[in-house]
Amino acid sequence: MTQTDHPAIARTPRRRSRWNATDLGLIAVFAALVAGSALIAAIPVGGLGVPITLQTLAVMLTGLALGPARAFAAVGLYLLLGFAGLPIFSGGRSGLGVLAGPSAGYIIGFLLAATAVGWLAVVVLARTANRTGKLRGILLFAAAMVSSIVFIHGLGILGMMVNAKLDFSKAFLADLAFYPGDIIKNVLAVSIALALHKAFPDLLLSRVRTADTRP
């Protein structure tokens, strides 16, 4: 159980050897953003005002905005401090106790999903460097959906099976309730990520471009 977060600690500083002060600032502030989004009340969406929580939105955006390595560090830092006892998990929960709860899989899934979507985002941004607009948005949305289905929903189901001892079909059904909100959140995340990259071209975009033009 705890082994899952220890590699995170180990890898976080090791990969950071080439990160400068701005990267550290981005990692720390995005970790705070995930924490803040978990603490903030759900926002109403659309005419009916269906409330959606912002945490998965913040996690996916961390990946889309920062790319895989820094997103891994940011979400890893958030998890580490939450496990250490800061009340920054959703609903003000904290500590290693959450790993025993039925939502443990989702929490671990955040780390892998942010990393995966960050990696896919870099691939998409590099491949669509000369084309902007719709195609890029659609591909980023596909990347976000694949990452959240495989990691957040996959591990979420696994967590309910392990901790609540539900069998697969029941855990799968319980997890289905999160899909509509997740689709809305991923659409929102991609639209915000595109706006962020427009506002801050050197956040990830220029890194991708330089990597792309290099033979």
């Binding site: 090791r14 006892g85 800061l86």
Partner: protein, 210 residues
């Protein structure tokens, strides 16, 4: 949420034996309970272990109100699981599942109720120390933790401000108007923080490899 006050909520100051126990021992207790929750097969054993842990919690002088506050967030979902598994698997198994989760939650809250936040964070920062030979930098790690803690109130404040201004414009149902400005100002804040660190010579890698 404009201060760091919310971070101190779980800690109960005191000088009991548990307060004075070393951090690693309390951490081992939490890990041990996590392992035990997978091994215990009898609900009576689970109940006994839970009672023991609750006794330990109360022994620290943190009080029953704090114990209830630590457990309260998981109660609704545990009630749902308990009832469902009672129907599916029978009462003893349902009781064991629910009690085993409670064991982990109470064990973890013993750690957080008897350890000051600063000691916990120092403990986390010291986790990087064994990895120094692989290029880890405990000081930069601790610095990043400190910046994150300082930024949580900023993020919460940004959400409040943006929500107020969206409401003023009649956009409180528009998720983009509620969220995008928060992320823009957060990224700007992160980069200002990075520049402020760089200007003070903090946070840069000590010996660049390139």
């Amino acid at each position: 949420m404009s201060s760091h006050g919310f971070l101190l909520a779980a800690y109960a100051p005191g000088s009991s034996l548990i307060h004075r126990a070393p951090l690693w021992l309390k951490f081992l207790l939490v890990v041990g309970c996590g392992m035990a929750s997978f091994l215990i097969a009898d609900w009576a054993v689970s109940a006994a272990v839970l009672a023991l842990l609750c006794g330990l919690f109360l022994l620290s002088g943190a009080g029953p109100a704090r114990l209830f506050r630590a457990v309260r967030p998981v109660l609704p979902v545990l009630a749902a699981i308990g009832l469902f598994q009672w129907w599916q698997l029978g009462a003893p198994t349902a009781a064991r599942i629910v009690l085993n989760v409670l064991i982990c939650v109470v064990a973890a809250s013993i750690l957080t109720a008897t350890t000051p936040v600063q000691a916990l964070l120092d403990g986390v920062a010291s986790l990087a120390r064994p990895f120094r030979r692989f290029g880890a930098d405990p000081e930069r790690f601790a610095l990043t933790i400190a910046i994150m803690l300082r930024s949580i109130p900023f993020v919460a404040g940004a959400y409040m401000d943006v929500r107020d201004s969206a409401r003023a414009r009649g956009l409180e149902r528009n998720p983009r108007a509620l969220v995008l400005p928060v992320f823009i100002s957060t990224v700007a804040f992160a980069r200002q923080t990075g520049e402020a660190l760089a200007a003070r010579g903090l946070g840069e890698p000590e010996d660049p490899e390139e």
